[in-house]
C-alpha cells in the first residue's frame, strides 16, 4: 500500500508548490486571480489539509473544526491588539493556543468514536460559537466582531517606538504589509510547508498507524496498540492546522467574527475534503479551491453578467438561457454546489482527485509521452487513498 518513493514525493511537492505559487497566472482566465480570493484558497487549503489528517487518515469525522479556526483568529487579533502588528507572534500564539484547546477537546471527545465523536465535537463547537456570541462578548465583541482600534496597546511595537503613523497600522512581517499579493505569497509558502508536513505524516510510521486505526481499530487493540494517544496526537495536529488557518485569516484581514465558528463552517471543511478526495494528499486543497471559487465567483454573477455571458446567442435565446441558468448562480450558488456534490458522491466516490486519475489512466495509452509525467504524479497522489 505504501510505496510512494522519495523521488515521487519530491515531484509531488514540487508540482504542488509550482501550482500554488503560479495561481495568480493560471487563475486569471476564470476571474479568480485577485488577492483576497487567492488568500482564501491558500488559507482554506491549510484548513482542509489539516482536517484531512484527522478524517482522511483515521476516519474520525470531526464536525466542529471551525471552532479551532475561530479561536485561531481571535488569538491572532488579540496578539495584534496587545503585542505587536508583526504576524509571527500572532501565528505562533494561534497555533499554540488552538493546540492546547484541541488537547482538551480531543481528550473529552476521543473517548467515543463514529457518530458519537462527530456529535460531541459538533456540540462543543456550537457551544464555543454561542459563548463567543454571548457570554464571552468582552473578549470576542460578539456579533460586531473583534477589530483593531487606534488606542490598542501593542506593547512590543510601542517598546520600539513604532507609533509614528496616524490611523491603524497594518499587519506586517518585519515591515512587509500582509495584504494583497504579499499576503497571498506568505500564505502560499505556509501552505506548501503544511503540505510537506502532511506528506511526511502520510509516509511516516505514525501515519500508517493512523490508517490502521481507520481500517480496524479493534484489531489494532488486539495487537497490543493503545490507539488513544495516536488519535489525540493527530487531533491536536489537525487542530493546530485549523488554528494556523484561522490566524492567517486574521493576518490577511485583521477582524475575527463568531460566524467563523458556526457549524456551517465546520460542515464546509468536511465538504471540501470529500469533494476533493478524502484521504488523498492534494484532494482537500482542490476541494477548498472549488468551494471558495463557487462561494466568491458564482455567487456574484447577476442577471446583467449572465446576459453578457450569453451575448453570443440570438436575442430570444439569450434571455431564455439567462433565465434557465439564473437560479443556479448568484444567490443560488449553493444549489449548483449541492448538485455537483451529489454527482461527485455518486459517480466519483473518491472525489475529484480520483476523477483526474481516471482521465489520466485513459489518456495514458493514447498520449504516452505527454501524459506519462502527470499520470505518474497522480499515481503518487492518490496511491495512498488506502483502504
Amino acid at each position: 500500500m505504501e510505496n510512494g518513493s522519495a523521488t515521487k514525493d519530491f515531484i509531488t511537492l514540487l508540482v504542488f508548490a509550482v501550482a500554488i505559487l503560479t495561481m495568480p497566472i493560471w487563475m486569471a482566465p476564470i476571474g479568480a486571480n485577485y488577492p483576497d480570493l487567492l488568500q482564501r484558497f491558500a488559507i482554506y487549503g491549510i484548513f482542509a489539509i489539516g482536517f484531512n489528517l484527522l478524517f482522511g487518515l483515521t476516519g474520525y469525522l470531526s464536525f466542529g473544526h471551525a471552532a479551532f479556526l475561530g479561536v485561531g483568529s481571535y488569538t491572532a487579533v488579540w496578539s495584534f491588539k496587545l503585542l505587536s502588528m508583526n504576524i509571527l507572534p500572532a501565528l505562533l500564539f494561534s497555533v499554540l493556543f488552538t493546540g492546547l484547546l484541541a488537547a482538551v477537546i480531543g481528550f473529552v471527545s476521543l473517548r467515543r468514536s463514529g457518530i458519537y465523536f462527530a456529535i460531541l465535537t459538533l456540540a462543543i463547537a456550537q457551544m464555543s460559537y454561542n459563548l463567543a456570541y454571548s457570554v464571552l462578548t468582552p473578549i470576542t465583541n460578539g456579533e460586531t466582531g473583534l477589530q483593531l482600534r487606534n488606542y490598542d496597546v501593542r506593547i512590543i511595537d510601542n517598546l520600539f517606538g513604532k507609533v509614528a503613523t496616524e490611523g491603524i497600522p497594518s499587519t506586517n512581517l518585519f515591515g512587509i504589509t500582509m495584504s494583497g499579493y504579499s499576503g497571498f505569497y506568505f500564505s502560499a509558502v505556509v501552505l506548501i510547508l503544511c503540505f510537506w508536513i502532511s506528506l511526511r505524516i502520510f509516509r511516516s510510521p505514525f501515519g500508517i498507524t493512523l490508517r490502521g486505526i481507520k481500517s480496524n481499530q479493534k484489531r489494532m487493540g488486539y495487537t497490543g496498540f493503545n490507539t488513544r494517544p495516536y488519535l489525540l496526537a493527530v487531533f491536536i495536529i489537525s487542530g493546530m492546522y485549523a488554528g494556523l488557518a484561522g490566524g492567517l485569516l486574521a493576518v490577511t484581514d485583521p477582524l475575527a467574527g463568531a460566524e467563523r465558528m458556526e457549524w456551517t463552517a465546520s460542515g464546509e471543511v468536511v465538504l471540501m475534503t470529500i469533494l476533493g478526495g478524502l484521504g488523498t494528499l492534494s484532494g482537500p486543497m482542490i476541494g477548498a479551491v472549488v468551494i471558495k471559487y463557487f462561494e466568491n465567483i458564482f455567487s456574484s454573477i447577476g442577471d446583467q453578467r449572465l446576459l453578457e455571458i450569453f451575448s453570443w446567442a440570438p436575442d430570444g435565446l439569450q434571455h431564455a438561457l439567462a433565465y434557465v441558468v439564473s437560479p443556479f448562480v448568484g444567490n443560488g450558488w449553493q444549489l449548483t454546489l449541492g448538485l455537483l456534490f451529489v454527482v461527485i458522491i455518486i459517480f466519483l466516490p473518491g472525489g475529484l482527485v480520483s476523477g483526474f486519475k481516471r482521465i489520466f489512466t485513459k489518456l495514458k495509452p493514447i498520449a504516452k509521452g505527454v501524459a506519462k509525467k502527470e499520470a505518474k504524479k497522480e499515481g503518487a497522489d492518490t496511491g495512498e487513498a488506502g483502504t
Partner: protein, 453 residues
Amino acid sequence: MSKIITSKWSRRDILKAGAASGIVAGMPMFYMKNAFAANYLNDPGSAAAVTFGFNVPQTGAYADEGADELRAYKLAVKHLNGEGDGGMIHTLKPMSLKGNGVLGKKVKYVTGDTQTKSDAARASAKRMIEKDGVTMVTGGSSSGVAIATQSLCQEAGVIFMAGLTHSNDTTGKDKRRNGFRHFFNAYMSAAALAPVLKKNYGTDRKAYHLTADYTWGWTQEASMVAFTEAIGWKTVATVKTPVGAGDFSQFITPILNSGADTLILNHYGKDMINSLTQAVQFGLRDKQVNGKDFVIIVPLYSRLMAQGAGDNIKGIFGSTNWHWSLPDAGTKAFVKSFGAEYGLPPSQAAQTCYVQTLLYADASERAGTFMPSEVIKQLEGFKFDGAGNGPTEYRAADHQCFKDVLVVKGKEKPSSQFDLLEIVEVTPRAKVEYKPDNKFFAGGKLGPANNGV
C-alpha cells in the same frame, strides 16, 4: 517499526528548489504592481465607465431592507446615467451632475451579498475592490457589517458611503476618514423620542429593554436608557438577544413578572417583526401594570418592518430617518420615480442609499476626480437640500449628516398596505444635535484619508 522511507533529497535541496520556484512565481506580482502606478486605487483613468459596489444583505434577518436598498441603488445608477426621469437630480441643491454619468463616465455597478455577517461582507467588498475595481463601496443594514466594511474601505483606500446603519459607533468611536453616513443614529432617535414619550406616557414609567446583541443594539439601548431616565423613567432590566433568533418567547415571558410597564424593543428587521408579534401574542399590550396600560416602543422604525408586523404596530411610537409620505419636492420626485419603476413606495433604507449614491457622484463631479482624498474634501462640511430631509449638513468632524428626525406612530386606520406610519412630530435638527466629543461618540479618530497607493 523501522524507518521505511529514505530520501535522497536533502532538506537543503528542497529549500533551494522552493526558493527558486518562489522567485519565478513572484514575477507576476511585480508586473501587476505596475498596473497600480496610478494616483489612487482603482483609478478608472481614460475608461468609459466607472464602477460602484453595492454590498447589501440578500439573506439573513435584514434581507428585506437589503432588497429595497438594491432597488434604490439601481434606480440611482439609472438617474446618474440620464435614464428614467432623473428623480432627485432635479431637486437636490446644490447639484453639479448633468445626467451623463459621472465626470463623463457611464456608471456601472456590481452587487454582493453581505449575508448580514461581517466576514462575508468584507469578503464581498474585497472582491469588489480587488477584482471589479470599484471606487466606492456602499451598503449596510447592519451596523456591525457597516463598521467592518468601513474599516476595510479605509485600509484599502476607497470611499465607503454607509447605507442603513444606526449605531452611534459608525460615526462615533469607529468613525473613519474614508467613510460617510447620511442615516441618523441611535442618539438622535432617543433625543427625538424622549419628549414625545414624556407627553404621551408621562414621567413615571418602568422600562424593560430587549436589545439586539451587537454594536447597534448596545448603543441604542444606552441612548434610550439615558434619555428616558432623564425624563424620570426607571430602567427595570436590559436583556440582550441574539440577532436572527426567530423565537423570542423565552425573553418575553420574564417581562410579565418584572413589574415593568413599558417594553422598549431595540430590534430591527425580521427580529423586530418576530419579537413584537410575540410580545403582542403574549398579551403584553392588553395588560395593566402599576395602574397603567402596558406600552411597547420601537425606537427605530421602518415601513418594511411595519408591513411585516401587520396590525401589531398600531399606536406604537418610534423614530425614522425619512418617510415616503413627506410633502417636500425631493421626496415626491423620488417616490414618483421609485413607484414608476417598482410599483411600491421606497423605504427609509432605500432613500438613504439612493441619496448616498447621488451625493458621492456629485462630490466626485465637483472634485473633478474619483480620488478619495479629493472627494472627501468635497463631502466634508457639505450643505445640501432637496433630498427629502430638509436642509442637511455633512459634519466635517465626524462625517455624520445632521438633519431633522421624524417621530412616527403606527397608524390606527391605514388607507393602503403602504400607509402604515403617521408622522407625529418632525424634530428639528437643533434638538438632536450633539458635540463630536459627546460621551456616546467619543474615543474614535477619523485618521488620515487613504487613497490606496
